[in-house]
Every structure is written in structure tokens, then in C-alpha cells.
């Protein structure tokens, strides 16, 4: 019934999703949800926006170059909403750049809505949410130009980044911006860690929405993520032991390959 080779994946994913739903349900009923550890990159968002406000320079935001189907882009929207609200509250200019044309109307609406929520609809500048190009390096070149011309005091790069990640990080450093970056693309994380002031590594970008909003329901879902990781660690340890002591009788590998 289940497609070949996906049996274990299906059941593991089902149990994982059930755990998240249970925790969401607990949070909705007002039951206590464990606290999450501090994420310096997310705590620094207010510091970065405050710096831009004091210096009178804009905040630069990029949701990455992934399309709407990419979970990293969806995670970026939660952060963008928070950053846009804070910028609207403190009258700080926010420049949002987009590579994917489908993402552009969403980011435009998020920023517009954020200004409306704090009652400053008239201060929303539609020219600050920009679509540049579907081409990766054309987008990168355009963002470099924006950074050199506008001199942002803060650069927030959350989403799916590929080869252009270091270009953004280095140019941000050249113009003197405080940089908060996050991506789940493992091949780009080292560049962000080396070049940015704060880096959200992998799953931390998915925690941003819950962490910044402090919504108990979203925090409950985060805890489910941690439970999934704990199960993965147990499976890894058991699998490593079995592969070492009984490589030919590794029943765990056999089950997981089904």
C-alpha cells in the first residue's frame, strides 16, 4: 500500500507529526510547555533594528533565493513579519529584496500588513520591497548595489542561500552593517558563520517565528522538533553500535531501509 522504500519514512514521519500535534494541543489548552534555549541570532534582531534606528540607516532584508515551495522561504516570512513590525514601530526604513517573482507579492503584503498593524500605513513605501531578477547572480549583483548605495546598518539574511551567500555577507561587512544570517543549506552555513555577526544554523531558522512571537502554540511545535531530534540521536547511537559490533545483523538498518 505504501510506496516501495518509504515504509519506515512514512511511519516515522507520522509519529513525529503526531508528537507535534499533541504538543500544540497541550499549548492550546494552556498546559505548561517546556522553555526553549536562547538563540543569540534571534535575540540580536532587536539590537540590529535598534542600531539602524539610531544611525538613521535602513535595515536590509533578504528572504533568500528559494521559491515559495522551499520551507526556508516560509520560515523567513515569519522573521520578516517581526522585523517589518519593529521597523514600522520605530520608523526605520526596511528594504526587502526578492529573487523569486512569486515570493515578491507575499513579502510585499507582509510588510504592508506590518505597517498597518502598528497604525502607520501611510509610512509604508512600496518601493522598498523590490523584485530584482530570477537570475541568481543578477539578484546578487542588485543586492550588492543596494547595500553600497543605501548603506544599511543591519543586514538580515534568512532563507535559502546558495553561492551568493558570501557575496552578501562580505558586502554587508564592507558597508558596516551588523549581520544576522540563517540558512538550512549546509554548504553555505560555514560562510555565514565566518562572515556574519550572528548565524542561525539549520533548524534555528524554523524556530524564528515561534521564538520571536513567544506564541505558546508555536513554541509547543518547537518542542516537538526537539523530541524528533532526540529520537534521531537514539537511532544513530543504536545504529552505530549495531554497525560496529554486528554489521551483518544490523536489523535497525534493515527496518529503516524498508
Amino acid at each position: 500500500m505504501i510506496a516501495k522504500g518509504l515504509n519506515s519514512t512514512f511511519w516515522l514521519e507520522l509519529v513525529y507529526c503526531a508528537a507535534i500535534l499533541v504538543l500544540i494541543s497541550r499549548a492550546r489548552k494552556g498546559l505548561k510547555v517546556p522553555t526553549v534555549y536562547k538563540v543569540p541570532g534571534l535575540d540580536a534582531m532587536d539590537e540590529a533594528i535598534g542600531r539602524s534606528t539610531e544611525m538613521g540607516r535602513p535595515v536590509f532584508y533578504s528572504p533568500g533565493i528559494g521559491d515559495l515551495q522551499n520551507a526556508q522561504t516560509l520560515a523567513s516570512f515569519a522573521t520578516l513579519g517581526y522585523v517589518a513590525r519593529q521597523c514600522a514601530k520605530y520608523d526605520t526604513s526596511l528594504i526587502v529584496t526578492n529573487r523569486i517573482s512569486v515570493v515578491y507579492p507575499v513579502t510585499e503584503e507582509i510588510v504592508k500588513q506590518a505597517y498597518a498593524e502598528v497604525g502607520k500605513t501611510d509610512q509604508y513605501n512600496p518601493d522598498n520591497v523590490r523584485f530584482f531578477s530570477e537570475d541568481q547572480f543578477a539578484y546578487a549583483a542588485a543586492c550588492v548595489g543596494v547595500m553600497h548605495r543605501e548603506h544599511p546598518a543591519a543586514s538580515i539574511l534568512i532563507g535559502g542561500f546558495w553561492a551568493e551567500s558570501l557575496i552578501f555577507a562580505e558586502v554587508g561587512s564592507q558597508v558596516g552593517a551588523i549581520q544576522i544570517a540563517g540558512t538550512a543549506n549546509t554548504h553555505q552555513i560555514p560562510f555565514f558563520v565566518a562572515a556574519c555577526d550572528y548565524c542561525l544554523i539549520g533548524e534555528e531558522i524554523y524556530a524564528a517565528g515561534a521564538y520571536l512571537s513567544k506564541d505558546p502554540v508555536l513554541l509547543g511545535a518547537l518542542i516537538g522538533q526537539d523530541w524528533g531530534k532526540m529520537v534521531s540521536v537514539v537511532l544513530i547511537i543504536v545504529g552505530a553500535i549495531l554497525a560496529t559490533v554486528a554489521p551483518k545483523a544490523n536489523w535497525l538498518a534493515t527496518i529503516l531501509k524498508q
Binding site: 505504501i2 518509504l6 513525529y16 515559495l68 513579519g81 507575499v106 523584485f131 546578487a140
Partner: protein, 207 residues
Amino acid sequence: MRKEGPVAFGLICGLVVIIVTYFSAPALAKVKGELDQWYLIATAFAVAVGLVNLAQIHMRKINQKKEGWGYSIVLMVGMVGFLLFGMTVSSAGDPKFQWMYNTTVVPMNATMYSILVFYIASAAYRSFRIKTGEAAVLLIAAVIVMLGRVTIGEMISAMIPKWTSWIMNVPNTAGMRGVTIGATLGGISQALRVLIGIERGHLGGVE
């Protein structure tokens, strides 16, 4: 309805895709095929929206002769030129269209990609400073790996390429796999939150 409608539609579409992925459901597979086509059509319309945004911003810059308006003219000429010429040819594989693309876009992309070399050097100069223990580990590992990747490393010591392989195959791979597992679980959680509607950032900030 403004809040619930898009969430319900997203949930139904998401469930269709998930069911088709895990189970054999020919009827739903056809629905998924249709949804994929709808996405492509919506993307095409979104490109038009993006083009309008670009044109608005740069035409305003040209009209008001703001700083850098000359570059806006170059952009508009290039964008409109490609668009009009593209409409006259039969497909993107047309030799003339390909020539235009290969002589303009490809070299410009290569230029931007090659700038990375200099940015890697400047990032290395900034980050490879021994301020903390972790920075020292980063510097030592980076030096070993960089030397191990070029012939001079083997000339200095036959052990350097072996240390390089060990660093890349053991701690680096382990770390990256750990991040990948965490990111994958985070992605699944994110997708679930979007499907059941408790995370609505993608709906344009609708609360």
C-alpha cells in the same frame, strides 16, 4: 473566510501531494499534476508582476533623474529588448536568442561568481584571527584543509592530505549530517504548521 479559506485550500493541496508521495493513488496523481500546472501558470503571472515593479521603480528613477538613473536606462533597454526579441522567436532555444543570452548574461554571471574568490580571501582574513579557542581550531583546520587540497601540501608533508581527508570525512561530515537532520526535522515541522494554519506568514501577514 478570508483567513480560513486559504488555509483550508493549502491543507487540501498539501494532503494531495503527501498522499501521492506515499501511496499509489492514480486519481490524486492526476490532481497533483494539475496543481503543478497551476503553480507554473501562477509563477508566470508573478513574473509579470515583478517586471511591472521593476519598470515602475526604474522609470521613476529615470523621470526624476535620481542618482544612477543612467544605469536604470541600461536596465530598461536590456529588459525590454530581451522581452521583445524573445516574443519574436519561436523558442528559448532559437540560435539568435541563445547568442544574446550567451554573450551578455553568461559572462556577467561568471563575473559575479568569480568575485567570490576575492570575497573568500577577505572573509578568511577577517575570520582567521585567534581571538578564542574556537577561532584557533577554525584557523588550524582551515590551513590544513587548504594545504591538503593543493600539491604544495603533499610537498610539505605526506600526512597533510591524510589529515585533510580525515577532517572532511569525519568531523565535517558528522557536523553537516547533524545539521541536515535538524534542518529536515525543522522543515517538516514548518510544513506541518503551515498546513494546519498555525503559521500564516506566507498568506501575507493575515492573522
